[in-house]
Amino acid sequence: MTGRFRIGGARLMHIYTWVLIAWLVLPISVMILFGFNNPSGRYNQTWQGFTFKWYRDVFALEALTDALVMSLVIAVMTALIAGALGTGIGYALGRWRFRGAGGLNLLMFAAISSPELVMGSSLLSMFVSLGVSPGPVTITIAHVMFSVSFVAIVVRARVVTLDRSLEEAAADLGASGWTTFWKVIFPILLPAIFSGVMLAFALSIDDFVITNFTGGTTETFPMWIWGATRVGLPPQVNVMGTMIFAAGVLIAVASNIRSRSKKKVAA
């Protein structure tokens, strides 16, 4: 079957795919490697020897640690709020046809495909016009705004595939609509909600452009790095970047393995 797709050069394409992956991974490897570098001066640019000391002193720079904590707090708040709001939208869009659904869809599409620069600058315009001073709260508002649609899409995709006979069965057994939702539907949706929440968390912790516009002088992890580029980045940045990378990859792999083993059980 797939034989019909083989247009020759498959081997070349295979090698090419790996070259491209290597290219994608190259700057990541550099980031990880230079977390172990032992630079003599302020510039962590050339390799000068192996050390673990930046892992030991990872939280030694107070301002950087504060920025990381700020990023984590904002990401958790964003994930919780966007998780709740996005689940509401996703469930409604997947479950019912209703007036306004098309408009809402278009609004979500616009929020996903609009340039971050424009979303950030227009939010700043509004905050300036209203005299609201930017800070962690305005950053969180902005992060919820751009991540809520992603959560909604992930949840909707699961709701669409729900077996409606489950609800009927629950109703036949005398469960109220409310009980059915919490005891039957919600547990089924939970993995999708969890991936939506994790996605919102990841989008928030990585965000630079919108934070740059809506944060004022608030320093998140990416903002701190941006501010420090000119004077040279301390190796602690590489260590923290590596830790975020490792945590993200581990969570992604773990949830993948979990959903696969569940599928096997179901089969």
Partner: protein
Amino acid sequence: MDRVKRTLAPYLLVLPGGLWLVVFFAVPMATMVSLSLQEGDVVNGFVFTGHWQNYVESLADYQTQLIRSLVYGAVTSFVLIVLAFPVAYWIAFYGGKRKATYLFLILLPFFVSFVLRTISWRMLLTDDGVLLHPLKEAGVLPADFQVLGTATAVIAGLVYSFLPFMVLPIYVALERIDPRVVEAARDLYASPVSSFTKVIFPLALPGVFAGVLMTFVPASSDYVNSELLGSSETTMIGQVIQSKFLSNSDYPSASALSFTLMAVLLVGIFAYARALGTEDVMKVAAR
């Protein structure tokens, strides 16, 4: 009573999130349009005067940067189609059981902060860094050879930043192709090449369009790559807007530029939505 509850249920669920999007996405856009037609300064405040001159003046001053950004965005998307298509093709048709693993590898950069990734590139490409220094020592490159600060460096950075956004939609489109269609083409004596150009590629086009939308918009409005990898010769409109908003507090003309950029991109975004629907982009976005 129960009926009323049931008709109301979707609206109640949608309301908080929908309101959030209206208040913090749609309303700010309107505020920005209004701000772009105002006059004044930060100290004395801004007044709405329908001042169209903001557009005329800022476009006259920064048309070079605006056009440059659109050109960089277009080149980035084009390079990405060429780079990403074979990879998406290989994963879709030869990936076998490892498809998910390959896609995961393609997505790996997203686990590192965007700014940090770009800084890593700057480190790699710096004049006497790990890549250029050995080549210069060996005499492969002249001693004064430079990558940083050039348009090539900025576009390469943009290509790197948004590559996954081109691979994924093309992959999704290729995945969807019914193998029987290709078999039919072969049974009707289409050569491998013509079954690719006449059957597979046209079917993959929606994915290519989605990829162009998802890469052209962020690339042409980016300012991180041109700030970190470029020079004054490569200044993009995003940098102008960013510094007008955040350093100079020149809100009206910054808003005018930002809205102009949005208007240009919006034409593309809605033309895409009308022609091909919103599903493909949303599906890919949520991966």
